[in-house]
């Protein structure tokens, strides 16, 4: 897969939660069509990094450029940019008061200003793609975790985003449901979607990623191809991390 020009560029990004320095001098580029997987121990700043890209978390210094434009401040410009950046959350966050179909249609109609019929057609097409065409009229609470997460992915895709952010998409799932979500993500990656994925799934990192980012203590420690990273991590911290999670 050819990796194009940069779609997301973070330069010298710093973020604090009060006195806590949670992102330190982060430089990261995600090219068009690239799949970048961010791994690292809990509390290393991976999720925060992911959430800064569509400004669900604000930063104190540095710059974030998405598709050639600096991330706007709060307001309509920011809303417009967020429509181009799909996001999938650890806790799914499907709209609890709306059916699956409505979940997929709401932002299409309100943000993309599509007609009801067109939005519904697109919604059903995407539900079919994630294997949930028969669940359209159910409410989120009636679905399993894996199904909810696949709906959440379809909901983000309905906006036709340029890039998809995944914030630990399988961490809240039962083990047997993880694969159905990863399969949807692998398919997306094969179709050429630009993706930034925070995950603990090493199998996904190894086989679906173009690059692996290893974070520890609020900074990026390694940024390499998955083959190199998993065969011979450069830092002692990454070796230690891998030895702990790959043994069992």
């Amino acid at each position: 897969m050819a990796v194009g020009e940069p779609l997301i560029e973070l330069r010298n990004v710093n973020k604090y939660f009060g006195a806590l320095h949670v992102l330190q001098d982060i430089d990261l580029t995600v090219g068009r069509g690239e799949v970048v997987v961010v791994i690292g121990p809990s509390g290393s700043g991976k999720s925060t990094l992911c959430r800064t890209i569509n400004r669900l978390e604000t930063i104190q210094s540095g710059s974030i450029v998405v598709d050639g434009r600096p991330l706007p401040e709060e307001g309509r410009d920011l809303a417009r940019l967020r429509a181009e950046v799909g996001m999938v959350f650890q806790s799914f966050n499907l709209f609890a008061h709306r059916t699956v179909l409505d979940n997929l249609m709401l932002a299409q109609v309100k943000v993309r200003k599509r007609g009801k019929a067109e939005a519904q057609r697109r919604a059903r097409e995407l539900l079919d793609r994630v294997g949930l065409a028969d669940q359209a009229d159910k409410y989120p609470a009636q679905l399993s975790g894996g199904q909810q997460q696949r709906v959440a992915i379809a909901r983000a895709l309905a906006m036709d985003p340029k890039v998809m952010l995944f914030d630990e998409p399988t961490s809240a799932l039962d083990p047997e449901m993880i694969n159905e979500v990863l399969e949807v993500m692998r398919q997306l990656a094969r179709d050429g979607m630009t993706m930034a994925v925070v995950t603990h799934e090493m199998g996904f990192a190894r086989y679906a990623a173009n690059r692996v980012i290893f974070m520890d203590d609020d900074r990026i420690v390694e940024d390499r191809s998955p083959e190199e990273f998993f065969k011979a991590p450069e830092s002692a911290r990454a070796r230690d991390f891998l030895s702990k999670i790959l043994k069992h």
Partner: protein, 214 residues
């Protein structure tokens, strides 16, 4: 019993006055209350400050004092309205502060992720609040809003002291006509019960229909 049958139209006018005050002031309180709740959670600091000031001032002012302020104060600024309209304004604004806080606590029951998901899809603050957060908050605020509106119905009695026709005020002419004060008040109480139990019934239906399922 004679008090009621012989003065049915007097009681009727009083009850109608109370119902009118309650309905119009409730509509005003609901509209302003939801708007102020939206202000209080808005991303704009000046709106948040306005909402906070609104609630602080109105919630902490005795209602009678507020009536005086509206009835005597506003005409000085050239705003002259019928007494009933002034009463609706005073009652509605006062109650909106309580509605605002009930709605805001309802908003706080909606998980943060719901709003984040809406924003991540490109929805604006207004769209997020209107299409995702408020519909879910609505379910949680039905009981406290019902209580607040019942309180409003009873508070409307204060308007009687400001030349507005309402239920409590009917005791004065009845008293002058020499009817038993006790029975006059019993039928007034029954009138208030009619209003408040109707509000209760409406909110019970709303809760059955829309309330948070357990």
């Amino acid at each position: 019993m004679d008090v009621l049958t012989q003065n049915f139209s007097l009681y009727g006018r009083g009850l109608l006055g109370t119902v009118q005050l309650t309905v119009y002031a409730s509509l005003l309180a609901l509209a302003l209350g939801v708007l102020m709740a939206a202000f209080r959670v808005a991303p704009v600091a000046s709106l948040r400050a306005f909402g906070t000031a609104w609630v602080t001032v109105l919630r902490n002012t005795p209602l009678t004092l507020l009536f005086f302020a509206v009835m005597l104060g506003l005409p000085r600024f050239g705003l002259i309205l019928p007494f009933t309209a002034f009463a609706v304004l005073a009652l509605g604004c006062y109650t909106s502060a309580f509605i605002c806080e009930a709605v805001r606590s309802g908003i706080n029951t909606v998980p943060v992720g719901q709003g984040e998901a809406a924003r991540s899809l490109g929805m604006t603050f207004e769209q997020t609040l209107g299409a995702v957060v408020l519909p879910q908050a609505f379910r949680a605020v039905i009981p406290p809003v019902g209580s607040t509106l019942i309180a409003l119905a009873k508070n409307s009695a204060i308007a009687g002291s400001f030349s507005v026709t309402e239920l409590l005020g009917t005791y004065k002419p009845l008293n002058e006509m020499g009817y038993s004060i006790i029975w006059s008040f019993v039928w007034i109480a029954v009138g208030y019960l009619l209003v408040t139990l109707t509000i209760s019934a409406i909110f019970t239906v709303l809760e059955k229909r829309w309330g948070v399922p357990r």
